[in-house]
């Protein structure tokens, strides 16, 4: 079911996998599990992120897999890793735990900004691609880095719009548009989304998809916000593929100029 575009006529394809929805969502930070499940349903997403952490040896923890495995595909992440080595091990654990070759690769270089460590990110991308992973790297909004990642075999590039969880939106739309216009692989706007218009803008700039977590899970009403994001991504994509009008400095009347009354 998930492999079938739901009548969109404009499916997203990443590494040969077809997505009808261009919205990916996170699973962290919801008030409770039911709200998360309802928000995921409202978002229309087909892929949700997960993290890999040491199991608690002290007691029962509800399994994310049991909750979601029948609803979405998982995109495990390497969040928190600071070296290529740790990220590769985490990806391998994720592959075993979730039975997927897909990995959202995060290698962090600054704990406060959660900015990527580009050097380690490039190393980890090459190593994971060689090991057969489908690598979706979270990266800077830097066209050169994005090209290098694609050259190393990344399936997408996922530039940040603003720092993770900041909700600042897309701080440098010009760079995101440049990256989109030059990237040989799909561009997924990964971080910084604050509200629906940010997601729509990402799509209007040419992004192939948007990944949102905090903007949905920490909204006052996550389920409504998930629906808003769904519509925003669809609207932004429609606008992008429709071709916007050029911007002008002065007014251009839209009504006929002949036959004005009283002239």
């Amino acid at each position: 079911m998930l492999d079938t575009p739901q009548g969109t006529g404009d499916p997203l394809i990443i590494a040969g996998r077809v997505f009808a929805s261009r919205l990916f969502v996170g699973t962290a930070g919801y008030p409770n599990q039911q709200v998360m499940l309802d928000a995921i349903a409202a978002s229309g997403t087909e892929m949700a992120t997960a993290s890999i952490r040491r199991i608690s040896l002290d007691g029962y923890q509800e399994s994310l897999v049991d909750l979601l495995a029948d609803r979405v595909r998982f995109l495990p992440n390497t969040a928190g890793c600071q070296t290529a080595r740790d990220a590769v091990l985490t990806a391998e654990l994720a592959r075993e735990a979730l039975e997927t070759d897909w990995i959202k690769l995060e290698v962090i270089g600054d704990r406060e900004l959660l900015y990527p460590n580009v050097e380690e990110l490039l190393l980890a991308t090459a190593e994971l691609v060689a090991k057969g992973f489908i690598v979706l790297p979270y990266c800077n909004d830097d066209p050169v880095t994005c090209l290098k990642l694609a050259e190393r075999g990344a399936a997408t590039v996922m530039p940040l719009g603003a720092p993770i969880g900041s909700g600042l939106g897309i701080c440098n739309p010009h760079l995101i548009e440049l990256i989109c216009s030059r990237s040989p692989v799909p561009v997924v706007l990964d971080a910084g989304i604050g509200t629906a218009s940010d997601a729509a803008l990402a799509m209007e700039l040419g992004c192939a998809a948007v990944l949102a977590n905090t903007a949905i899970s920490k909204a006052h009403d996550p389920v409504r916000m998930a629906a808003a994001m769904r519509h925003a991504v669809e609207a932004g994509r429609l606008a992008f593929t429709s071709g916007r009008i050029p911007k002008r400095r002065y007014a251009q009347p839209s009504s006929p100029q002949l036959g004005l009354v009283g002239s």
């Binding site: 699973t27 962290a28 952490r53 040896l57 049991d66 391998e92 075993e96 735990a97």
Partner: protein, 70 residues
């Protein structure tokens, strides 16, 4: 870690389980299947190899699971 211990998720403990499967059972995790993965000394141990993968003193074991994340 002394000569009779292993390290499980960053904590030293006496080696009391002969295999990875036994360790999981001793931790009450024998029912865990989907979403769980194990590495010993930085190498993944695929689930099918848990029963025959023996643990020896000095081993560092990581037991992880998929959790919520962004």
């Amino acid at each position: 870690m002394d000569g009779s211990e292993i390290r499980v998720n960053g904590k030293n403990e006496a080696l009391a389980s002969a295999t990875v499967s036994e360790l999981l059972a001793d931790k009450g995790l024998e029912a865990e299947g989907r979403g769980v993965a194990v590495a010993v000394n930085g190498r993944i141990v695929p689930r099918v190899q848990w029963p025959q993968t023996r643990l020896v003193a000095g081993d560092a074991v990581e037991i992880v699971r998929a959790m919520k994340g962004g």
